[in-house]
Symmetry: C2
Subunit: 199 residues, 2 copies
């Protein structure tokens, strides 16, 4: 006997298909599931099903939500004339943690990446243009990641928006607060110098 | 809005409860699930349920199986008079990979560990004694891990079995095949010297 029972093998394979999970970790996870009380294993399976069933994209900003419109888009306190464009729901959460932004968002669900065959039509650029087209929007803040693909995506979208008379801005580059100049890379230092402000 | 929809939070929490999974990894896993086609997410949930439903312990050797008796115990080719005692189903798989062992097994499902409040009654010692009590068994090979708890467990069980007139042996310590003396620790070298054989 060289293998586990088929049902256990299937569970190990399922865990191994998750991002960042190797064969050994998948085994440990599967054994952990077997060691759970029946109710907890059932709850785990139910959590997968209900997340898949209930969570979908906000019809306005494309953020993940379990209602038709997400809480940010629904809130009358949020400024609908400013849209912060992020590539991922996790980035939206990070922005919200700063408690500094009071506008609305647009979640692209990816970045343009020719290497990975992701074009503008694969992310929610069309939905962003439709929102901007209503005339309510005054400024779009590009908050994609400061890497090659995030930059290219920000550049692409800004070129689409500018002819429409929309103000398009990019979040600032610089030294992270609390960090150490000594460990900052050249590109960041260059951008920090370039973006210096009068005190 | 600081958090994800509740259904997504529940899924992240479920993944975070797995061994070796931190908050960030759990988020990535949950997002991966959301990105799957409905059928695949459903299959993942079903894999959890069916593993939990179908996989249980072999009534003889306590190995995991989906039938009443596991393939090793059922096989007429395996020598039932020798029992190799391992702490974990994964160790049984490792032993089988060597293709050298033709006896049967006993899976303890743990080791005695007073620090973690695991006593002999929490592992399958009672079941092992019952098997040995039938008189069919001639030798018991202790193949628990060569660490403190594995040693203590092997010692404890051997003291229970010896008075019954059973031959109890321990797998050999020594230099692993293909390794380098230079990197072997002192304890292993000492055991390797102690266990030397005439050539």
């Amino acid at each position: 006997m060289n293998i586990f029972p088929p049902a256990l093998e299937r569970l190990i394979d399922a865990f191994a298909s998750l991002p960042g999970v190797g064969g050994k970790s998948a085994q440990r996870m599967a054994f952990h599931i077997l060691s759970l009380p029946d109710g907890e294993a059932e709850a785990f399976a139910e959590a997968i099903k209900s997340a898949k069933r209930e969570v979908h994209r906000c019809s306005v900003c494309q953020n993940l939500t379990d209602s038709e419109i997400c809480p940010v888009c629904e809130s009358p306190k949020r400024d609908k004339s400013t849209i912060c464009v992020v590539s991922d729901p996790k980035d939206l959460i990070a922005m919200e943690r700063s408690h500094e932004y009071n506008g609305s968002y647009h979640v692209l669900h990816g970045v343009i990446s020719p290497m990975n065959h992701v074009g503008p039509e694969d992310i929610t650029v069309r939905e962003l243009l439709a929102r901007v087209g209503t005339g309510e929007v005054k400024e779009v803040i590009m908050a994609t990641n400061p890497d090659t693909e995030g930059e290219a995506t920000a550049m692409y979208i800004s070129r689409l928006l500018k002819p429409l008379g929309i103000k398009v801005s990019r979040i600032a580059y610089g030294i992270p607060v609390g960090s150490n100049l000594e460990f900052a890379d050249e590109a960041t230092l260059f951008r920090a110098l370039e973006g210096r402000r009068e005190m």
